[in-house]
């Protein structure tokens, strides 16, 4: 049963979602190539092999996606808590033995690859929380144990790293999945009021616990002119890149902001800016359309899924893609703070690509098996 490849699996396979994310990933590789190219032909040195690595990772990710599709998602339901426990252990491990980058400890070096546990943890969280919610009725109240196990403990471990992007992601997923599971409008309203009142207090605590570079980012977002450490520079350069693309863009390999290094993190967090500079308004709209199709298709999968777990898991995965998309493009467009999250399927980064493909595999898995009988 576990590794059954039957005709129905092939027949019902969600080629649309698969096609969309492959397209986005290929656009991503082309953009990485452009962003990291040498600004002048024949300049000494050679182009960094980021795009080649990303191609390799795309192959691995596609294989992983198919592997995930082949496994009946029931197994993910059954093993969800075990994944979650492993995820928590890895988060603790990264705090003790992690590799630091930009003042944050997020990586575990496995020798051949630097592994970021929070990538894995997000998926485990969606599985486990969905499994948990299947058996609970949240209509009236949220149990304290739930808040601790799926809220405070993981959030605490993430904030210690600190990893603002993942922290925002976890909180959002917690809220979204709770709402989708049927949290009453009364509680939602109450929660909104409570959080609005508590923001100044929590905000203070949060501010104090932030590292300097994070504080700077927030300050720079509020007022790029103050710019204590040049973070506003990032936002400005990103806006310049996008804005200068105008309607039809400067043309592929004609962008200047990325290769000339005015734009920082050009092939990772600011890849959308590089793309938008070269392809203009038309290209940006096309890319957005591809993403919107992924989201709407995913929501449709959630709607049509055959059981509660898969409905919630699908919603969680789409939400994850959507929030990353929103935070990343919002940052590039200068309407959201600089929070270092990658653009799903496009940004350079092997583990992120892999984990997003695995998540997409799960989504396809759910859609593909929606007609199967649940046991």
């Amino acid at each position: 049963m576990m590794l059954k490849i039957d005709r129905r699996l092939v027949k019902n396979f969600d080629w649309i979602t698969f096609g969309l994310i492959i397209t986005i990933a290929l656009i991503g590789i082309a953009t990485i190539f452009s962003a990291t190219r040498l600004p002048v032909e024949g300049m000494e040195g050679s182009q960094p092999a980021f795009y080649l690595k990303q191609i390799l990772w795309l192959f691995i990710s596609i294989l992983a996606l198919f592997a995930v599709v082949m496994i009946d998602y029931v197994w993910f339901y059954r093993l969800a808590y075990i994944f979650y426990a492993i995820g928590l252990v890895l988060l603790i491990a990264v705090l003790m033995a992690g590799k630091s980058s930009l003042g944050a400890q997020r990586w575990i070096n496995l020798g051949f690859v630097a592994f970021q546990p929070s990538e894995f943890f997000r998926l485990a969280f969606i599985m486990a929380f969905s499994s948990y919610l299947v058996n609970k009725n949240l209509y009236e109240r949220i149990p304290i144990s739930c808040v601790f196990i799926f809220g405070i403990i993981p959030l605490f471990l993430i904030v210690l790293q600190p990893d603002l992007g993942t922290a925002i992601m976890l909180m959002s997923l917690f809220v979204i999945l709770s709402i989708m599971r049927g949290l009453s409008r009364k509680i939602i309203t109450l929660a909104v009021i409570v959080s609005l009142i508590s923001i100044p207090f929590l905000g203070h605590i949060f501010w104090e616990s932030m590292k300097d570079y994070q504080k700077n980012r927030l300050v720079a977002f509020v007022d790029p002119e103050i710019d204590p450490s040049g973070i506003g520079y990032h936002i400005n350069q990103s806006k310049i890149a996008i804005g200068s693309g105008s309607f039809i863009g400067k043309g592929y390999l004609k962008g200047t902001q990325g290769p000339l290094r005015f734009l920082p993190e050009k092939h990772t967090d600011f890849i959308f800016s590089v793309f938008s500079e070269e392809w203009g308004f038309l290209g940006s709209m096309t890319l957005f359309t591809l993403y919107i199709m992924v989201f709407l298709r995913g929501l449709d999968t959630a709607k049509k899924a055959k059981d509660e777990f898969s409905k919630l898991a699908a919603t969680g995965i789409v939400s994850m893609f959507f929030i990353y998309f929103l935070v990343n493009t919002g940052m590039a467009l200068g309407i959201m703070p600089v929070v270092g999250v990658p653009l799903p399927f496009m940004s350079y980064g092997g583990t992120a690509l892999l984990s997003n493909f695995i998540a997409a595999g799960l989504l396809i898995n759910i859609r593909t098996r929606r007609f199967e009988l649940f046991y």
């Binding site: 804005g243 200068s244 200047t256 000339l260 290094r261 308004f281 929103l326 493009t329 467009l333």
Partner: protein
């Protein structure tokens, strides 16, 4: 329930899509032009390459200036946020406040480099180059500065370069020049700046975020400025400077036939090299505050009574107006009486019976009192003015303005002093004292006009420039010859007042003069001598050079000023001529 909330989620996704699209629309369509320009500015840098300045030569094609590299250090404005100001200040050896002030200036453009320090030495430059990586965006520029080969000699004429002033920036010709470019600010450098400065070149390059040059987009070569050949003879300047010694004064030499200035010295002089790097150094302050006023151009700005040199004018007026014949004699008994005053002759015992020639040669005052009386002040005024005195000669040495001197007249006295004119004042004027004042350059222009038959040329500093005639007095040839003979006699005849100017290589003519320093001299207990004048020319046949020597507190013109003139003239005729061509004293006598 679930489906309902999924539908809401669909709407949320669509709303976000619309929101982001509006934002992209705003950035790319509404502000697209603006951002495209910023992105061009981001990647393109315009680097002005200074044009080599034209070289200034003297009349014998000896270069007077050299172009030398001057180093300065600048920073790209987009890098200033990341700069540690303290350590930058320390490395450049300037106060941190100066850096802060330059960095935070309101009108800093986002892509014009900010100049931090000019006039760097080679050691400083290598220090900066070595630490460049600590200060992204910092770079050393080479500008073209000037070395003035002869230093102080001719400093007043050649002038120097300085930073463009805020007023000069408004000049449309200078719009291609960086705001702190060096342009001519004094003398010839300023006067002929438009010709000398050339056209700066422009390199448009593509740079990356740390300012590294990636490729050349466009290059326009700088056009070298025009060379200028001055009418100045640096040998004369040099000789003059040497023979003045520590005395203050001026010398102006002109080619009588054209008005070309052969030499113009004002002493003490200043060394333009002190200004060469555009830095207003302590040396400069010292110059400005110096009691000997080296920045004062005495050739253009010292106006004093010309003394007996003015007798040339009185003599010409008398001959032209025929109030006297050349042979007519006046008896000099050492003075004449006028009311209760006595107007003395400088020679206590008197000259006896003198005609025009002797009166000029021996500078008899009484003869000219008499002639002046016959002429009246307004006739003297007419000829003095016609020969270029009493008004500017048009000589120009930016930023120095020449003074116009004064030739009195009855009208002038009535208008300015509200008084009538007295005969005693005519006596004074006739011998170049009293109200009469002139500058060394005016006296030279006057002498040149007398020698060339009456053409008053505005002095010019360019060799073979078209002469600019201010006016012309048709002087009769007889008058010209009579005066010229007398001036030759002043130097070459027994009894002449300037025998010290006799030269073995050319025949010199001239006239001495003394400007009395009355008040100062008496009150300071004779501490100050009178100012000495000597106007001279050579050779006596077909003069090539006419000059005025003015020595402040030099005493008598014959002893203080004439030897300087001789040295200057000999420097001009530095190739000694065969002895046979020279007339000797005896032959003349």
């Amino acid at each position: 329930m679930f489906e309902k909330r999924i539908n809401i989620a669909v709407w949320v996704v669509i709303m976000v899509f619309v929101l982001l699209s509006i934002r992209i629309w705003y950035l790319q369509i509404i502000s697209g032009e603006k951002y495209r320009m910023i992105s061009e500015n981001n990647r393109l840098r315009i680097i002005k390459t200074p044009a080599p300045r034209g070289i200034i030569f003297d009349r014998n094609n000896i270069p007077l200036v050299k172009n030398i590299p001057v180093f300065s250090v600048s920073i790209n404005p987009e890098n200033i946020a990341a700069i540690d100001r303290e350590s930058l200040a320390e490395m450049l050896g300037i106060p941190v406040e100066e850096i802060t002030e330059k960095f935070d200036k309101k009108d800093n453009s986002s892509f014009v480099p900010i100049k931090l320090k000019q006039g760097l030495g080679l050691v400083e430059v290598s220090k900066i180059e070595a630490r460049k990586s600590d200060f992204p965006g910092l770079f050393v520029e080479t500008e073209i500065g000037r070395e003035y080969i002869y230093g102080k000699t001719g400093g007043h004429v050649i002038g120097y370069l300085g930073k463009i002033t805020p007023e000069q920036i408004k000049n449309p010709d200078l719009k291609n020049f960086p705001p702190d470019a060096l342009i001519g600010q004094w003398g010839i450098e300023a006067l002929y700046d438009a010709a000398l400065r050339g056209i700066p070149g422009e390199r448009i390059i593509e740079v990356d975020a740390i300012g590294r040059e990636l490729r050349l987009i466009q290059h326009r070569q700088a056009v070298k400025g025009d060379d200028i050949t001055l009418s100045i003879d640096i040998n004369i300047q040099h000789a003059v400077e040497k023979s003045f010694g520590t005395k203050a004064g001026a010398l102006v030499a002109i080619k009588p036939s054209t008005g070309e200035v052969l030499a113009l010295e004002s002493l003490p002089s200043f060394d333009p090299n002190l200004f060469a790097s555009g830095v207003m150094s302590d040396d400069w302050r010292t110059l400005i505050e110096d009691k000997k006023t080296p920045m004062l151009n005495r050739a253009l700005q010292s106006q004093y009574p010309p003394g007996s040199t003015f007798k040339i004018i009185t003599a010409i007026a008398a001959l032209e107006e025929k109030v006297i014949t050349p042979e007519a004699r006046v008896n000099c008994s050492g003075g004449i009486s006028y009311g209760k005053w006595t107007f003395g002759c400088w020679k206590k015992g008197g000259h006896g019976s003198v005609n025009l020639h002797k009166a000029l040669v021996e500078s008899c005052d009484v003869y000219f009192y008499e002639v002046g009386k016959r002429l009246g002040i307004d006739k003297i005024h007419k000829y003095a003015t016609a020969l270029g005195l009493g008004e500017p000669t048009g000589v120009s040495l930016y930023p120095i303005k020449e003074r116009s001197g004064l030739i009195p007249s009855t009208i002038w006295k009535k208008e300015k002093r509200k008084q009538q004119w007295y005969l005693g004042e005519t006596y004074n004027a006739a011998i170049g004292q009293g109200y009469v004042t002139a500058t060394p350059v005016q006296m030279t222009v006057m002498l040149a006009a007398v020698l060339n038959g009456g053409n008053v040329y505005s002095p010019s500093f360019i060799k073979d420039a078209t002469p600019r005639m201010l006016k012309s007095l048709k002087l009769s040839e007889e008058t010209r010859r009579l005066v010229a003979d007398a001036l030759s006699g002043v130097v070459n005849e027994t009894g002449g007042t300037a025998r010290s100017a006799q030269s073995s290589i050319t025949m010199i003519g001239g006239k001495t003069g003394t400007a009395q320093v009355v008040s100062k001299g008496k009150e300071a207990g004779g501490k100050f001598n009178d100012h000495a004048w000597f106007i001279a020319y050579a050779p006596t046949e077909n003069p090539e050079i006419a000059m005025t020597v003015f020595v402040e507190h030099g005493g008598h013109g014959g002893s203080a000023a004439a030897p300087i003139a001789k040295k200057a003239i000999e420097a001009y005729f530095k190739k000694p001529k065969p002895k046979s061509e020279l007339k000797t004293d005896d032959a003349k006598n």
